[in-house]
């Protein structure tokens, strides 16, 4: 049971997260090869704007704004947050200079993964576990037998539910750390 949930849902999800990491590393490699490292320095700006744009869904969901189709905004949330994160990862590169921006990057990574778990994986896992329960019930298994059959799936699902709860708190951490980084750039970078 655990294998099926892992193979059908967790593994594709892992690949999706891996794609983000791969795109970031590949993009960083290309920028270095083309001598366009300076571009990465500025990718933090569109990346941040995209992530801020992705918050429209969060505001709509919590009724801070009343207009907009929730499903469309959710799709937009997923896309802009993923792309914004990719740009921020390219911006961060693989250069470890200061702690604050790296903590912000780490928080963003946790936030992205928790978001993907929350939406993409949790929904599928819920359907999968429910489907398994119905399948075993149709085969005439008793309720304790069904629960035993889907035990590991249920454990995995439960773990993912807890992981999902990290999404909002870690977003606040990410937002504050990113704000600290942005303020320091405004203070010390030569803008004019």
């Amino acid at each position: 049971m655990m294998n099926s949930l892992w193979r059908e849902h967790v593994l594709p999800f892992t690949l999706l997260v891996g794609l983000l990491a791969l795109a970031a590393l590949g993009g960083d490699f290309i920028l270095h090869r083309l001598g366009l490292v300076w571009v990465g320095r500025y990718l933090g700006i569109p990346g941040t704007l995209l992530i801020i744009g992705s918050l429209i869904y969060s505001l709509r969901k919590r009724k801070f704004i009343s207009s907009g189709n929730l499903k469309t905004l959710l799709t937009l949330h997923e896309f802009t947050a993923w792309l914004g994160s990719l740009l921020v990862l390219l911006h961060a590169g693989i250069h470890f200079n200061a702690i604050l921006p790296w903590l912000a990057t780490l928080a963003m990574g946790v936030n992205v993964i928790s978001g993907l778990v929350g939406k993409w994986l949790l929904q599928r896992a819920r359907q999968h576990v429910q489907g398994q329960r119905e399948h075993y019930q149709l085969r005439g298994l008793s309720k304790p037998e069904v629960e035993q059959a889907v035990f590991w799936d249920a454990v995995t699902f439960d773990a993912m539910t807890r992981w999902r709860k990290v999404h909002i708190p870690i977003f606040f951490v990410f937002a504050v750390l990113a704000l600290g980084h942005i303020i320091s750039i405004f203070l010390f970078w030569g803008w004019i």
Binding site: V37, W38, A98, V173, L177, F186, G190
Partner: protein
């Protein structure tokens, strides 16, 4: 989000904020400073101005332009200067960050050693030898000044001048530059610098062929081969005969 989680989060972020002020060189600095600036690592505003970044007026409070290359910031004589001639005194403006940077994370991506000669005052800009040593090869040993006739101020190599385009230095012409370019003036040349060509024999030979315009030799002759005649020779002959 529970109240407990909120308090934990707020406390952690507060600690991070305090750390950013106490240890800015670890928390927000883009890499280590150079050794000479180490004492400034917790005093960001010693070099940075809000919005303007690293600020030249703050640099010159320690690095006096009149002393750069001559005296250290502590007033001691520079024992091993980085350039043969002090030139900071001859810059059109004191824009330090156009050439210099600090922080390891920033310097890593700066093109090293690229100096924009436009920053030099006009009177100094063409005096290449006041800063640069002439190469010791057989060609450059013969040349004094006028570097810009062949070299640009953007980069030394490639030299922009190909002598073969004007005249191929073959056979007896592989000689000293001053034979043709008197006083190392490469904007002019003469073919009468050697015993082979004299105004008289050149005039006689050309007049015999009906050529009267023979002041600019390389207009027709581009090598030692006197039969390899290019340019307007054919036209010139007809015109002159007329």
């Amino acid at each position: 989000m529970s109240r407990f989680v909120k308090i934990i989060l707020a406390a952690n972020l507060l600690v991070l904020a305090v750390l950013a002020f106490v240890y800015p060189h670890l928390m927000i600095s883009p890499g280590k400073l150079i050794v000479g600036h180490k004492a400034l690592e917790t005093d960001c505003f010693a070099c940075h101005a809000i919005w303007r970044g690293a600020d030249s007026p703050r640099c010159v409070t320690c690095h006096k332009p009149a002393d750069i290359g001559l005296l250290t910031t502590k007033g001691q004589a520079v024992i091993k200067p980085l350039s043969s001639t002090p030139f900071h005194q001859k810059l059109v403006s004191q824009d330090c960050v156009s050439c210099h940077s600090d922080h390891a994370g920033v310097r890593r991506f700066r093109q090293p050693g690229h100096f924009n000669h436009a920053l030099l005052q006009a009177a100094t800009r063409d005096q290449c030898e006041s800063c640069h040593k002439s190469p010791a090869d057989s060609l450059h040993r013969q040349i004094t000044g006028n570097c810009t006739q062949c070299h640009s101020q953007d980069k030394w190599v490639p030299a922009s001048f190909d002598h073969d385009q004007a005249f191929v230095l073959d056979r007896h012409h592989d000689t000293r530059c001053v034979t043709c370019h008197l006083r190392n003036d490469y904007s002019q040349y003469t073919c009468y610098g050697c015993h082979e060509h004299t105004p008289e024999n050149i005039r006689r030979e050309h007049v015999e062929e009906g050529i009267r315009n023979f002041t600019d030799c390389v207009e027709c002759h581009r090598s030692a081969d006197e039969h390899d005649i290019r340019g307007g020779k054919g036209k010139g002959r007809g015109k002159d005969d007329d």
